[in-house]
């Protein structure tokens, strides 16, 4: 008997998502099925953005708890449950960044984060994916929340362009424009950071 391959790919559970959503407000089992279908993707999305497993778990929890409390008001639209849950995740992620920013200056926050919230395991994982990605995350932190959300949904959520636009709450055309501007803004941030690094390096010499 062939053994199952260890894979994180999803196995279709055969449930009609629209029906699950319609039952989810009153049937915890239906919500649990939706949860199992999306928890890995939502966690992955948040992990990519934050690079921290702990934060990813916190924000994933908050996302699904909010989804559960709001499912009654969910209206089925094109794209279904996915864009909706990712929209909640993006909002929770923005809330997380906001809370962190409030907790202290970005520099202090990064120092505290580096000291306390990153485990050795995470450091190892980070070095695997490369320091460049960390730099990109830091640059993303400096964008305004709307631009952050657009780029996160476009590139980190593994959503189609249409679903990312739905999750963002805009038409496809508007979303494309926002992503374009956000990319330009991110480029400026990266360049500014590189210039600052060069100047600091020159002074050090």
């Amino acid at each position: 008997v062939p053994l199952p391959r260890r894979t994180s790919s999803f196995i279709e559970d055969g449930f009609d998502e629209r029906e699950l959503v319609s039952r989810a407000a009153t049937d915890p089992g239906a919500f649990a099925t939706l949860y199992r279908r999306y928890v890995h993707r939502v966690h992955g999305y948040i992990y990519r953005r934050t690079g921290s497993r702990d934060v990813a778990e916190d924000v994933t929890s908050a996302t699904f708890e909010r989804a559960l409390r709001s499912i009654e008001g969910f209206e089925w639209r094109a794209g279904g449950f996915g864009p909706w849950i990712f929209r909640i995740a993006a909002n929770e992620l923005a809330d997380h960044h906001r809370r962190q920013a409030r907790a202290g200056s970005p520099r202090a926050h990064r120092a505290v984060h580096a000291l306390h919230s990153v485990t050795q395991e995470e450091i190892d994982e980070r070095s695997e994916v490369g320091a460049d990605l960390d730099a990109l995350r830091t640059a993303l932190d400096r964008l305004n929340p709307r631009y952050q959300r657009a780029l996160e949904l476009r590139y980190l959520a593994s959503l189609s362009h249409e679903d990312a636009a739905r999750a963002f709450g805009a038409s496809k055309a508007t979303f494309a424009v926002v992503v374009h501007r956000a990319t330009a803004a991110l480029r400026k941030v990266i360049d500014a950071h590189a210039r600052a690094a060069r100047i600091a390096e020159g002074r050090a010499r």
């Binding site: 008997v1 053994l3 199952p4 260890r6 894979t7 994180s8 999803f10 196995i11 279709e12 559970d13 055969g14 449930f15 915890p28 089992g29 239906a30 919500f31 649990a32 099925t33 949860y35 199992r36 279908r37 928890v39 890995h40 966690h43 992955g44 992990y47 990519r48 497993r53 990813a56 778990e57 994933t60 929890s61 699904f64 708890e65 559960l68 409390r69 994982e125 695997e128 994916v129 490369g130 460049d132 990605l133 990109l136 995350r137 780029l151 476009r154 590139y155 980190l156 959520a157 593994s158 990319t183 330009a184 991110l186 480029r187 990266i190 360049d191 590189a194």
Partner: protein, 326 residues
């Protein structure tokens, strides 16, 4: 100078970067917490607030009728709130190893502050305890909520399988509650007292399997099978595992999900739809079904799911499992 394409490429790399799977314990605990939240009735405070802040409709011409209606509604609401207040007083405080069997048959882990609806049953597991109002329940206690009051009953004795069946089961078999939340078990088949489910990280002592070498009559002690699938596990020669189950009317196929452990820790409970650490090992199995367990696996758990022609789950079995010597 960075180009836009560089930025896009960087973002694509970030989006395509490998991410670790969420911890199985986290996924399981969050699901339990969500299920507990979803199963908790709306709080009395919210109901009262909803009454207080309900917008007024100034239909003065209908004042007498409105007053009468309000009186009736107030009476009904008053009675309902009174009943709810009694139930709302039943909250779990500091639960340790407590399982709650909800009226629809679902089994969830007891969490602090969880309110118990009428018909809910509490099972206090090994070294467990919980305070509910003034009552302190301890290991082995079983309590039921009846009309907003907690009634503590004697724990049901475990059901020992027929020795004739036991003769065919020469390995420890552990059964667990059917927690596939997608399909609640039939009320008539719900167990009186399901076996306490082990915590994902540290299983309670009561769930530890007996030694594989112990006689079958003592190793097959298990709880009553709530599902008519009546899943049984037998270890054949070598590391082959055989599963047998009863057919379910309306089922057109049976799927099997499995979890394994390569350490001393108990495997997670297999769930369907399979998500790591649960894996689908058969989509269209027939009883009896067998499979070799890979070398290195110390413990394994299986669950069988009956599906109808549309792919809908119509029944799930308890999980069964066994351990292999290191």
């Amino acid at each position: 100078m960075t180009t836009k394409n560089d930025v896009r490429e960087g973002l694509r790399q970030l989006g395509g970067a490998d991410v670790p799977e969420p911890r199985a314990a986290f996924v399981e605990l969050l699901e339990e917490r969500l299920t507990a939240i979803a199963s908790t009735p709306p709080s009395v405070e919210n109901a009262a607030r909803a009454q207080v802040f309900r917008p007024r409709r100034p239909r003065l011409a209908l004042a007498p009728m409105l007053a009468a209606t309000i009186l009736v509604v107030a009476l009904v609401v008053g009675v309902a709130l009174d009943r709810n207040t009694a139930s709302a007083a039943l909250e779990l405080h500091a639960p340790v190893n407590v399982e709650v069997i909800l009226p629809d048959g679902r089994v969830v882990r007891g969490v602090d502050g969880m309110r118990l609806p009428d018909g809910a049953r509490l099972v206090i597991g090994s070294s467990g305890s919980v305070r509910v109002g003034e009552r302190l329940l301890r290991e082995g206690d079983v309590a039921v909520v009846v009309d907003g009051r907690l009634e503590v009953t004697e724990p049901s004795p475990p059901v020992t399988t027929d020795p004739r069946d036991a003769a065919t089961t020469t390995v420890p078999v552990r059964a667990g509650p059917p927690t596939n939340a997608a399909e609640a078990p039939q009320p008539t088949e719900a167990p009186d007292v399901p076996a306490p489910r082990p915590a994902p990280t540290e299983p309670p002592a009561t769930t530890a399997a007996p030694e594989p070498t112990r006689p079958p009559a003592t190793t097959t002690t298990t709880r009553a099978e709530p599902s008519s699938l009546d899943l049984q596990l037998t270890v054949l020669e070598g590391r082959n595992v055989k599963l047998t189950w009863r057919s379910i009317p309306g089922a057109t196929r049976y799927a099997i999900v499995r979890t394994t452990s390569e350490t001393d820790a108990a495997p997670a409970e297999p769930v369907y739809p399979a998500q790591p650490p649960s894996y689908l090992v058969a989509e269209n199995a027939t009883s009896p079904w067998s499979q070799p367990v890979p070398a290195g696996v110390r413990a394994v758990r299986y669950r069988v799911i009956a599906l109808d022609s549309t792919g809908r789950v119509i029944a799930t079995s308890r999980f069964v499992g066994t351990e292999f010597p290191a």
